[in-house]
């Protein structure tokens, strides 16, 4: 069994010229699993350093940058200058993986195009992460998170359930944060490790990842349904009953997919007369009467507290979950037990608990090396070493 201090990607060097969320997250994923991540930043620093939301306090400390770049090293290089390009090539000589999101048109002039990198570094895995990929008629299109969500399907399909019931005429609502871009990052990490698998045999290669493709891939269900002959829509795709339940002090999610879970729900509700109607023993009948069921279930939930509903529900095997706030997640005893968070120093904001990784290897959480790097700390370190 591997030493817990030796995470699975130990010994691997990843260089990234990432400017955006997708490419940066790809590097983060590899970094939390043990790879050494070198973030090459322009002289003014990554734009992500200036991207809100900012941590509370007097300084301008981006929570986004801190999360995405925790554990990375920062190397300052001006890639518009030949010295900067030479420095980057020096770093790449010792690297297995390059993750780059430079817009296509800007690549060749600074030697970051597929051909130049392939020629100089034939053993390097060159991962390109762009909103619409490096190939295809829309590869030059601009995107921000919200436009990506709408280019890849889920944007048009949310909200559903209670939210769309309450606000049927509002514009669709996006998933929080950077969901689609993060899918691009996850796909890029997958692509990097896929190419790594055959690197010894066939050398490096160019991996072309598009956040649109990645976000679409996780939205596969809608495409599947299209093949079945039905078009998903945010109104119609709501669960027939259950879903988001407003309680006296918050919200819970209820979802009973199996017969025994429905039977547990009837118990949880205290076996009311309406639920004992023999017709409702059949799952299709329940589906047909979803609106009526929901009226009863919501009335029942509205006077009860989340914690009471959840603990009583779990006792009778009814799938129920509290809608946790970020603060709830942070102090959740389960997550504390799992070691989901680790304290790291965030310059300008003190020591903060930061999410490490959703993976455990050999029963142990992964370590987080450090917080986000100071700008160019690696250059300073190199200067000090050479003295």
């Amino acid at each position: 069994m591997p030493d817990p201090a030796t995470p699975p990607l130990a010994g691997l060097r990843v260089v990234t010229t990432a400017r955006g969320v997708a490419a940066t997250y790809a590097a983060r994923m590899l970094g939390t699993m043990g790879a050494e991540v070198l973030l090459v930043e322009p002289p003014q620093g990554s734009k992500l350093r200036r991207e809100p939301p900012f941590l509370p306090g007097p300084g301008v400390v981006s929570a986004l940058f801190a999360y995405l770049c925790a554990g990375a090293r920062s190397y300052l290089a001006d890639l518009s200058q030949t010295e900067g390009q030479a420095a980057l090539n020096g770093l790449l000589a010792d690297a297995a993986i390059l993750i780059d999101d430079t817009p296509l048109a800007e690549r060749a002039p600074i030697g970051l195009d597929e051909e130049s990198i392939g020629r100089r570094h034939p053993e390097l895995i060159h991962v390109s992460v762009l909103p619409f990929g490096a190939f295809g008629p829309k590869s030059h299109w601009r995107a921000e998170e919200i436009t990506l969500q709408h280019a890849s399907g889920e944007g048009n399909l949310l909200p559903n359930g209670l939210s769309v019931e309450l606000f049927p005429h509002r514009p669709p609502v996006k998933i929080h944060g950077h969901f689609a871009e993060l899918q691009g990052g996850i796909a890029a990490a997958l692509g990097a490790l896929t190419a790594l698998r055959v690197r010894e045999e066939i050398g490096g290669q160019f991996v072309d990842v598009s956040s649109q493709d990645a976000a679409l891939a996780v939205g596969a269900f809608a495409i599947q349904r299209l093949g079945d002959g039905s078009i998903e829509h945010r109104v119609e795709r709501s669960f027939r009953y259950g879903g988001v339940l407003p309680c006296a002090d918050g919200y819970v999610e209820l979802l009973t997919l199996e017969q025994r879970q429905w039977e547990g729900l009837v118990e949880l509700l205290g076996r009311p007369a309406w639920a004992l109607d023999p017709a409702l023993a059949d799952s299709l009948e329940r589906s047909r009467h979803g609106a009526v069921l929901n009226r009863h279930i919501r009335e029942w939930a509205s006077t009860r507290n989340v914690a009471d509903i959840v603990s009583a529900g779990q006792a009778v095997n009814v799938p129920l979950a509290r809608y946790n706030t970020p603060a709830d997640v942070l102090r959740d005893p389960h997550e504390r037990h799992r070691g989901l968070f680790a304290p790291v120093a965030v310059e300008g904001a003190g020591t903060l608990d930061m999410l490490v990784s959703p993976f455990h290897f050999d029963g142990a959480p992964l370590p987080l090396r450090a917080g986000p790097p100071a700008l160019g700390e690696m250059n300073r370190h190199a200067v000090e070493v050479s003295r």
């Binding site: 509370p56 698998r197 990842v209 493709d213 779990q314 979950a321 946790n324 709830d328």
Partner: protein, 393 residues
């Protein structure tokens, strides 16, 4: 070449998240052998009334490119047969509730006894350890526990249920972790046990909000608003239920948009000014978008250097030449000859053009001649006896 050629996966996963993981690995070249039983077919092979539909749910997509065999895991001989398969595999994947594999006699230690360098992957709602490890969960519950549901939605409305994208991102994350473990195996010769918690994957998608909470802030859902950009949102386009997403970053893009829509209000000159008057700005932008075709307007905005995209419905996505050119949307043929659109593996490899879906949904037990006959060297008689004993069943 297919990069994962030579990797064999004994696939015990069910439902959605786990099967999507092995589906991705199968498209990259791994030989994935899906284990089911007529006693207990994958729940997603069956009709699903709670979705208001009678056909199988996502099964066709995630079962593509896999091989299918029957093993009745409830029988001790079924566990023994499973071990024979694991012994010739590199990776075993499962997504039952924690503890189930152990009770079936197929826990990590039991499987390592037949394959000492096995990589084993478990995908579950809350992970294999911790007070909530036994919780049953589906995508909307992972999203709720993990905080993504609470943080998604209109600022004045309820939280929003995460649907299949939540399952599938868990699957894609799990595929990354599995490949990391396989890399570790290549480097050291050692197997390992990979435990992926779906609710923790949900949380990993809001790491910045969790960090804000750790620093004492109280982040709240904010609809389509962005903390910096304005205009930023989903605007009505011409036609019924037609929308256009626009995000304007920086003054240069704003000036381009302002010229396009004919707006010269000085309040909007700076990003801070635009953010402060975002509501009025939204009204002005919506007035311009509401008479325009969403796709045509998106092209005009892109030509002016502004991030914009029509809010695409599924048929629009399936028909898109760009996604088709990239292999992100492919056409697959079922065993009955019926064609349908499917989603490809989200990457293009310069030295691996062969990756992707190569066959549709396997029938239950379709590949037993290969797996039992060729791979495990079982005789007809041996197989027939196990069929009669309802082990291969």
């Amino acid at each position: 070449m297919k990069p994962l050629a030579g990797i064999r996966i004994a696939d015990f996963t069910v439902h959605n998240a786990g099967p999507f993981c092995t589906h991705l690995l199968s498209q990259l070249g791994a030989e994935v052998i899906k284990i089911e039983s007529a006693m207990r077919p994958d729940m997603f092979r069956k009709p699903h009334p709670v979705y208001g539909r009678m056909g199988p749910a996502t099964f066709d997509q995630v079962a593509s490119t896999k091989l299918s065999i029957r093993i009745n895991l409830k029988k001790p001989e079924g566990a023994a047969l499973s071990k024979r398969l694991v012994a010739v595999s590199h990776l075993a994947a499962e997504s039952f509730r924690p503890g189930v594999m152990g009770r079936l006699g197929l826990g990590y230690e039991a499987l390592r006894a037949v394959k000492s360098d096995l990589v084993m992957l478990s995908v579950s709602s809350s992970g294999q350890s911790g007070p909530d490890a036994h919780f049953a969960g589906y995508a909307p519950l992972f999203g709720a526990w993990g905080g993504l549901g609470e943080m998604t939605g209109y600022a004045d409305g309820p939280p929003v249920e995460m649907r299949h994208v939540m399952d599938h991102t868990v699957g894609m994350n799990a595929a990354v972790a599995a490949l990391a473990a396989l890399h570790h195996h290549s480097a050291t010769g050692e197997g390992c046990y990979v435990d992926v918690s779906a609710r923790d994957v949900a949380s990993s998608l809001l790491g910045e909000a969790l960090l804000l909470a750790a620093a004492g802030s109280e982040p709240h859902r904010s609809g389509n608003a962005h903390p910096r950009m304005a205009p930023h949102g989903v605007y009505p386009a011409a036609g019924d239920d037609s929308w256009l997403a626009i995000a304007v970053s920086g003054d240069e893009q704003w000036r381009a948009l302002a010229a396009l829509i004919g707006c010269d209000d000085p309040r909007f000159d700076s990003e801070a000014g635009r953010k402060a008057h975002a509501d009025q700005l939204d009204t002005i932008v919506a007035r311009w978008t509401s008479t325009r075709d969403a796709n045509a307007a998106a092209e005009a905005l892109q030509a002016a250097g502004i991030a914009a995209h029509a809010s695409w419905t599924t048929p629009e996505i399936a028909a898109d030449p760009h996604l088709q050119a990239r292999g992100a949307i492919v056409t697959v043929e079922e065993s009955g000859g019926k064609e349908r659109a499917a989603v490809g593996v989200p990457m293009r490899l310069s030295k691996g053009p062969e990756i992707g879906i190569h066959r549709g949904t396997p029938a239950l037990g379709e590949d037993e001649d290969y797996v039992y006959g060729e791979l495990l060297g079982m005789t007809r008689g041996e197989r027939r006896a196990l069929e009669e004993a309802e082990v291969i069943y």
